[in-house]
Amino acid sequence: MNADNDKKQVDLSVNIGKVRLANPVMTASGTCGYAYELRDFVDLGRLGAFVTKSITREERVGNAPQRTVETASGLLNAIGLANMGLDKFIEGPLALLARMSVPVFVNVAGKTVDDYIAVAEALAGRDEIAGLEINVSCPNVKEGGITFGTDPKILADLVGRVRQVAANKVLIAKLTPNVTDITVTARAAIDAGADALSLINTLTGMVVDVERRRPVLANRTGGLSGPAIKPVAVHMVERVYREVAGPAKVPIIGLGGIACALDALEFIIAGASAVGVGTAVLTNPPALIEVIEGIEAYLARHGMSSVAELVGSLQ
C-alpha cells in the first residue's frame, strides 16, 4: 500500500490570493536576499514562491555591526532593513527576479504610511511581481515599525491604503508575534483587505556581552528567529487559523524556525496553506528543497492526494 501511495501523484499546489503556487514552500524575507545570491546552492525554480528582502522607499544602510548573534537554537538579528532602496531595486534585482519561473513577492517596509504607499504604487505596475508582503512587524527600526504591527487601527489603515494603490497585486500582511493577542491584528489586517497573512516575524530579544557589559548587537535589541521560536509560531498560526483566518478563508503563510519537512508539516497541519523557510537557509540552503520533497513524501505516505487536505487538519 505504501509503495503504491508513494507513486501516486500528489498535488502540492496552493493558492495565495489569486496566485497559484506550484508548492507551498517560500523563502522568508531577508534570509534569501534577492535570489541571485543563492544561485550556486539551490534551484530556486523549484520553490512555490520567492519573497525578497524588505524594500524601502529610500536606500537604507542598515544598523551598525554587530548585526547578528547566535543564541540557543536561534538567531538574533538587527540588520536594520539594510537595502538599496526602491529605485535601485527596480533597476537591478527586479530585472533578475523577472527571469524567475516562480511567483515573486516583494516585501515592503517603511517608516511612514507614505513610505509604504510609494513603494507599493511603484511596484503595483510591475508585471514581474505577483504581490506584495508588507512587513509591519520588523522590530528593529525605532521610527515606527513596531507601531504598525501592534496597533490594530494603524495596521488596518496601512493595509487598507496599500490595498488601494496595489489593487491588482496579491497583498500579504506579515504580522509581528510581539502582541498580547495575535488574532486582533490578524483580524484587522484581513478586514482591511489582506489576501493572506504571514505569521510570524521575529520575537524581540537581547543578548548581553557579559565581559563588556553591553548588548552584543549594536542596535541593542534584535529579532529572534530559528528553531527556538517554532513552538510560539505554530501556536500563533493555529490560533489565527482557528479563530480568524480559517473562517474568513484567508490563507496563512506559516514561518518561524522551519528547518525540515517535519517542521513545515506542523505549520500546515496547524492551518498554514504555505510555509516560509528563513534562518535555516542561512546555514543550509537546500533546506528549501528538502522541505518540498519531505511534504510530498509525507502526503504520499499517508495516501493524501493534495496538500490542501492537510491544511488545518489538526484534531
Binding site: 531577508g30 534570509t31 534569501c32 536576499g33 545570491e37 543563492l38 550556486d40 546552492f41 528582502k53 536606500e59 544602510v61 542598515g62 551598525a64 555591526p65 554587530q66 548585526r67 547578528t68 548573534v69 547566535e70 540557543a72 537554537s73 536561534g74 538567531l75 538579528n77 540588520i79 539594510a82 530559528g226 528553531p227 528547518a259 525540515c260 517535519l262 534562518t279 537557509v281 542561512l282 546555514t283 543550509n284 540552503p285 537546500p286
Partner: protein, 328 residues
C-alpha cells in the same frame, strides 16, 4: 570530462561534503585540518584564491535538525593542493579513489563550540562545507612586485596560501611577517631554526607552512619569547629601515582588528598599497543576510548617509585598507 562538467555547472562555489584527511596540532592552541574534496567539489575548490574562506557546518552531518551550534563557522583557506606533502601531510593519508582529489587546509584556534567540535573530527569523517567564498587578495600582475604578507594570530593561515599562489605566479620577492602575543600563540609549526635566531630582523625559514613556497619570514612576539620583540608593525618598520627597496612592496595583512588598523595606518603614512582580510560575525557567508557588514570610509557623495557598509562575505573579506573606516 571534469573540465566539461565544470564548464556546464560553471560554479565557482558550492555546498560540498569533504572528508577529513588529517587533523594536526599546530602550536599550542591551534589545529590544522586537511579536507579532501572529490569530483565536482575538487574542481571548484582547486580554483580557490588566497583570502577566500569556507563556511564549516560544525555539526554531525547526520543530525541537521535540532543541532547546536547552528551557524556555520567561517575559516580562511590556508592552502589548496593535490599534493598532500605541500600541505604538511605524509603520503599515507586516506585516499578516496574518486578521481581527482583536491585537499584544502584550514588552520584554526580551538575556541568555542564550533571549533571544539571541529577539533574532535577524526580522519575519515565527513564535514559539510560551503565554499570557496568571498573575494581574495588581488595578486600583483607584475612578477617583480614585492609582496609583504603580514599575519597576526589566526590571521596567518591565509598568508601561507598567498605565498603559495604568489610563488606559482612567479613572484619571488615575498616576505612573511608572523606576529603573536607569545611563542605558544603562533598557529604554525615553528621549525628548529626559529630557536637560533640571531638577528630578529633578518628573515629566515622559521615556519614550516611557508616552506613549500620558500618564503622567508620574520617572527614578532609581543613578549619577545621568540624572534623580534614587538608587534608586526614595529617589525615591518625595522625591516624597511634596513631594506629601503621594500618600501615599494604591496602589503597583504590579516589578523585582529587593532593590528590591521595599525598596519593600515602605517601603510598610509608610508604610501604603501595595503590589502586587508577582515573578519566579522557571519550569518550566512553567501551574501543573503547582511550580517557581516563593515563600515567603509564615506566618500563625498555619501555625506547624507552616515555610513557605507560592505559585506565581508561577498565584497570581502579582502578590502583595500585605505577604504575601510577604521574608527567605526
Amino acid at each position: 570530462m571534469n573540465k566539461e562538467s565544470q564548464k556546464k555547472s560553471g560554479r565557482t562555489r558550492g555546498q560540498f561534503v569533504a572528508r577529513v584527511a588529517a587533523q594536526l596540532q599546530r602550536g599550542e592552541h591551534h589545529r590544522a585540518l586537511v579536507l579532501s574534496f572529490c569530483g565536482e567539489s575538487a574542481e571548484v575548490m582547486a580554483c580557490a584564491e588566497p583570502g577566500q574562506f569556507v563556511q564549516v557546518a560544525c555539526r554531525d552531518i547526520s543530525r541537521p535538525r535540532m543541532s547546536v551550534p547552528q551557524l556555520r563557522r567561517p575559516i580562511s583557506i590556508s592552502g589548496v593542493s593535490e599534493d598532500p606533502i605541500a600541505l604538511g601531510l605524509g603520503n599515507g593519508h586516506c585516499r578516496d579513489g574518486c578521481g581527482r582529489e583536491v585537499m584544502v587546509r584550514i588552520i584554526y584556534r580551538v575556541h568555542g563550540p564550533g571549533t571544539n567540535w571541529l577539533a574532535h573530527q577524526a580522519v575519515g569523517e565527513e564535514i559539510d562545507i560551503i565554499g570557496p567564498l568571498g573575494r581574495g587578495f588581488n595578486l600583483p600582475k607584475d612578477k617583480d612586485t614585492r609582496v609583504i604578507l603580514i599575519g597576526g594570530g589566526v590571521g596567518l593561515p591565509p598568508m601561507f596560501f598567498s605565498a603559495d599562489r604568489l610563488k606559482r605566479n612567479g613572484c619571488s620577492d615575498v616576505l612573511g611577517i608572523a606576529g603573536a602575543a607569545t611563542r605558544g600563540l603562533f598557529c604554525c609549526d615553528l621549525l628548529n631554526e626559529a630557536d637560533g635566531i640571531e638577528d630578529a630582523l633578518v628573515p629566515g625559514k622559521y615556519v614550516r607552512e611557508f616552506g613549500p613556497s620558500n618564503t622567508p619570514v620574520l617572527l614578532a612576539a609581543d613578549d619577545g619569547s621568540i624572534g623580534f620583540k614587538g608587534n608586526v608593525v614595529q617589525a615591518l618598520d625595522g625591516y624597511l629601515k634596513r631594506n629601503e627597496q621594500w618600501r615599494s612592496a604591496e602589503v597583504f595583512a590579516c589578523g585582529p582588528k587593532p593590528m590591521l588598523r595599525a598596519v593600515a595606518n602605517f601603510c598610509q603614512e608610508h604610501s604603501m598599497n595595503c590589502q586587508v582580510c577582515l573578519e566579522s560575525y557571519m550569518g550566512c557567508g553567501i551574501g543573503v543576510c547582511q550580517s557581516c557588514a563593515v563600515a567603509m570610509r564615506s566618500e563625498g557623495k555619501d555625506r547624507e548617509s552616515p555610513k557605507k557598509y560592505r559585506l565581508v562575505c561577498a565584497h570581502g573579506p579582502v578590502f583595500d585598507a585605505a577604504k575601510v573606516d577604521w574608527d567605526a
